[in-house]
């Protein structure tokens, strides 16, 4: 057995027989054109090849319209543009007319220089486009030599091996018989990777020369997540991977089934499932798990693990990236929540007796307008790039909310004064995580655009339990009737005043609490992306009527043990 390491670009396991992809290669002949007649002939040859290439793609588009994905259609349309590009056309014709090169040589030279142009680009994505260029060139070249590109026939379960796969290679294949791809070159942004992911087919790229030893017909195992290829594995390994494969398929099916299912209760109430994120890297997982936006963007991570406060511009760049990549879906950015258990090396936070009751979050922000304004301006500037909303943490009462909103107005004035665009109507909400805020929710609801309940802090403050102290951690329990009453009151007041109230604390992602929270009136749940499918599963099988009954029952109970036992029994 031989083990080959590459880059896993499309997850999944496949076990099948290897088959090398054969490609024809063009070679320059060096033959020069002798006269005007030769030049005319070469011009016609080239123009015919272009026309045939376009017709070929159009035929492919028409013939396989139903079976091509949107991704594949786009690839073909891009290829038509490349093949008919006036720049390419002019360059080739100039070599024919001026340098007297024959059509074959002129085409190869122009394509080679264009491929090089893409390869030299800084951007990894653009570099990967060199494969598209090569592919477009191959197609013209084949038509120039009237070679027919025929669909190759493969045995079912074939794993395709190639130096690199061009988009037209994969489009020309009957993918039903292909079990996966392994290539020597490539990156995660190349079309092969994109196609493989779109088709849910395992793929490993960047395997290098180690693949040379793989012979046609060899038994291969492909692990598209780990990026591993096993050649001629022994039975024991095959057994292990067969099991892995079955597990992957099962899990994938479950997730896929749920991903595009809207979170609607059996009696038709739409529930919004959002994700809590700490940075750009977390965004992809939201899509994968069927999340509908960001309910909490914790910005403090940007402030940690560094030597000084991040500048306004630096923050703006990050918020803008996240906003653009959220593509118009809600993005709630929480201003920094530092202090408590989150310390900064460059900011001299005093050692406190009770840090959770001390100088933290909004209290630091209101004390340090320079730091606060930089963040507020950065968020405002990013607000033109998406549905950005702003949220203040740790608000304890109306005066604090007013002070924070007044700082936001200052930031708006500063930006307006410099002529920088921002969303002047940006929605401004608060975390409800301090008991005093929960108890005065009716007052705060008049001045905040939305609430988001932070159950972790709300629980520790309500029950007077330091959640960092393991000796008393048994007392920390969000199912305590006191905490539930506060949550219930906040949701009631928000509804009464017509503002949305969500939840972004851990309770929102706790399957045990889902029905109860639905019954209490919660409609916006925000949690770590990975827990979304589990919560969605409960929501789509629950009815509001049942949820309300659950809430009524829980209201009659006097301790968290009884409540949890009841909820577990549902």
């Amino acid at each position: 057995m031989k083990e080959i390491k590459g880059i896993g670009v499309s997850p999944g396991i496949s076990i099948g027989k290897a088959r090398w992809l054969n490609k024809m290669k063009g070679v320059a002949t060096g033959v020069l054109l002798q006269n005007e007649e030769g030049i005319l002939e070469a011009t016609i040859l080239f123009e015919t090849a272009i026309r045939l290439s376009v017709e070929e793609i159009e035929a492919l588009l028409e013939e396989r319209n139903a079976s091509l994905s949107e991704e594949e259609m786009a690839i073909l349309e891009i290829q038509v543009e490349l093949i008919t590009d006036p720049q390419l056309n002019d360059d080739v014709l100039a070599l024919i007319r001026v340098d007297k090169k024959n059509a074959n040589d002129a085409l190869l030279e122009v394509i080679a220089s264009l491929v090089k142009l893409f390869e030299s680009m800084e951007d990894e994505y653009m570099r990967a486009r060199s494969a598209d260029m090569k592919d477009a060139g191959d197609r013209i070249w084949k038509n120039l030599h009237k070679h027919q590109t025929s669909l190759q026939n493969y045995e079912p379960g074939t794993i395709i091996i190639a130096q690199e796969l061009a988009p037209s290679d994969t489009i020309g294949m009957d993918l039903r018989y292909i079990a996966g791809f392994a290539t020597q070159a490539g990156s995660s942004t190349a079309h092969t990777a994109i196609i493989a992911r779109a088709k849910g087919m395992p793929a490993v790229v960047g395997c290098g020369i180690a693949l040379n030893d793989v012979k046609d017909g060899a038994l291969l195992i492909l692990d598209g997540k780990a990026g591993e290829v096993y050649c001629n594995p022994d039975n024991e390994i095959i057994e292990i991977f067969r099991e892995k494969q079955a597990r992957f398929i099962r899990l994938n099916e479950e997730q896929k089934q749920l991903k595009n299912v809207p979170a609607i209760t059996t009696d038709g109430t739409k529930i919004t499932l959002l994700a809590n994120i700490g940075g750009v890297d977390d965004l992809e997982a939201i899509n994968d798990n069927g999340g509908e936006g960001v309910g909490l963007f914790r910005t403090e991570l940007l402030f940690m693990e560094r030597a000084s406060f991040p500048s306004e511009d630096e923050q703006f760049e990050l918020y803008k990236q996240v906003a653009l990549r959220s593509k118009g879906r809600p993005l709630i950015i929480r201003t920094m929540d530092l202090g408590g258990d989150k310390d900064l090396p460059y900011f001299d936070l005093p050692v406190e007796q009770n840090p959770f009751l001390g100088y933290r979050a909004i209290r630091i922000c209101l004390d340090r307008p320079d730091v606060f304004l930089a963040q507020l301006k950065a968020i405002l500037r990013a607000s033109v790039f998406g549905d950005v909303r702003i949220m203040f943490p740790m608000i304890s009462g109306a005066q604090e909310l007013r002070a924070a909103k007044s700082a936001l107005e200052d930031a708006k004035r500063l930006l307006a004064g410099s002529g920088i665009p921002f969303n002047a109507q940006i929605k401004t909400g608060i975390m409800i995580e301090v008991p005093s805020a929960a108890i005065t929710a009716d007052i705060l609801a008049k001045e905040a655009d939305f609430f988001s309940i932070g159950t972790n802090d709300l629980c520790q403050y309500t029950l007077a339990v330091d959640r960092m102290n393991s000796k008393i951690s048994y007392l920390y329990d969000p199912f305590d009737p006191a905490v539930l009453r506060l949550i219930g009151f906040v949701l009631d007041q928000a509804a009464k005043h017509g503002i949305p109230a969500g939840m972004c604390g851990e309770l929102a992602g706790d399957p045990l609490a889902t029905k109860l929270l639905l019954g209490m009136g919660l409609r916006d749940f925000s949690m770590s992306a990975a827990t979304i499918p589990a919560i969605k599963k409960i929501i789509i099988s629950a009815s509001l009527e049942e949820a309300k009954r659950v809430y009524e029952t829980v209201k009659q109970m006097d301790n968290s043990e009884t409540i949890k036992a009841y909820l577990k029994g549902l």
């Binding site: 891009i78 543009e81 590009d85 720049q87 893409f118 951007d123 593509k327 790039f385």
Partner: protein
């Protein structure tokens, strides 16, 4: 002649797919349409030239349109940058 400025509102920059859509759109008009980034200017009839600019998200570009149907073209390109690009 119409000149409009746009910010590339796509995190990954102007990728092959939206770039191809833009070239395809520009070709449907008789007007000469070009795109300027700093002092580089390319005609919007060539995907290759457009891609060679490697436009990044957040970059500001201007579109220059001149010809008999320049107003219709400008409106369509406006829609492309302000609405369609986000969905591509």
């Amino acid at each position: 002649m119409i000149v409009n400025n746009y910010t590339i509102m796509a995190a990954q920059g102007l990728h092959a797919r939206p770039a191809a859509a833009l070239v395809k759109l520009a070709k449907t008009y008789k007007s000469a349409i070009s795109l300027k980034k700093g002092d580089q200017e390319v005609r919007l009839n060539s995907l290759l030239n457009l891609l060679s600019l490697a436009l990044k998200g957040g970059e500001v570009i201007s579109i220059v349109i001149e010809g008999e149907d320049e107003e219709e073209a400008a409106a369509a390109i406006d829609r492309f940058f302000n609405e369609e690009l986000k969905g591509l």
